[in-house]
């Protein structure tokens, strides 16, 4: 059995496992996507955001 067939049989064939796969993928995709774009935004605006200056004011 090739990898694609295994994945198909295990995850995509039944509606229940298919939906579970979709939900799980959504979760991980969203976390990585948000994480990386937020990281990029913070890098682009290094030193300007509250995040970067708050240690000056927190005791």
């Amino acid at each position: 059995m090739s990898l694609a067939t295994t994945i198909n049989n295990l995850l995509f064939k039944r509606t229940s496992t298919f939906l579970l796969t979709v939900a799980a993928c959504t979760f991980f995709f969203e976390r990585t996507f948000d994480g990386s774009t937020e990281y990029l935004f913070e890098k682009l605006n290094e030193g300007k955001l509250w995040k970067h200056i708050k240690q000056n004011y927190e005791k």
Binding site: L40, L44, N45, K48, W50
Partner: protein, 309 residues
Amino acid sequence: MAASVGRICGAKLLKRNTTNVITQISSFSTVREWAGNNRKLLTSLGIVAGGAGALIFALDQSVKASELELHAPEYPWSHSGYLASLDHASIRRGYEVYKNVCAACHSMRFMCYRNLVGVSHTEDEAKAEAAEVQVMDGPNELGEMFERPGKLSDHFPSPYPNEQAARAANNGAFPPDLTYIVSARHGAEDYIFSLLTGYCDAPAGVQLREGQYYNPYFTGGATSMAQAIYDEVIEYEDGTPAYASQLAKDICTFLKWAAEPEHDQRKQMLLKSFFMFSFLCIISFYYKRHKWTVLKSRKIEFRPKSKKC
């Protein structure tokens, strides 16, 4: 209505008209009936009169001092650009300028102390800022209003109890609420920066009334707001040299944030949607090609049935 249109156009509207538009128009024109010479004379007279009128108007405008207002140039803000966030250290300094200078005349009724938390101040600092002001609260059990130190949920205090009091104290002019002023003026923060730093002596011939000041960026030139920003009018707590241009830049950044508190998040959203929609674009392109392969690669043939079979 239909009757009068009918009377003007006669039966022409009812006729089927196969000729082109030009001939249609000329058939409505009355110029056709003029003698040839007359027509030429009138046309050239019209052109000369129109040209002379335009020339006189232009000459007249060029010597009038009516358009003395300046339009604010575009400044390179630290937040200009599609992905540039606001400079939060500048917002914090701008709040200092507002509190120590502008708040004497201008309200910011729609801002609360809690809005500062996580933007320019820590929670403790914002609480301390709020506690500095006295807020009217009540009524208590005796039905009396009382004053208490401000809390995070309180709005910024207004310098005047109502518009009339503000006008009475400012020579009849109303200092507008500054919360949304950046969105409310053409030129936004560029305009406000120019306004704050643009005071100068009135040019010869401009009459200022008592209590008015000349500012070429203000509509009409005469404003009732005295110059508020000078070098070192306040001292910054973070030690930034408080030159007039620095003060004006910081207050503008602060006002920009006040008018668009979602500014940073919006720009971050742009970044996210750029990646997300590029991704979706590629997928839909692929999906379309995928689904159309069958349609694109098939052939349809027409074979008429012969009578025999």
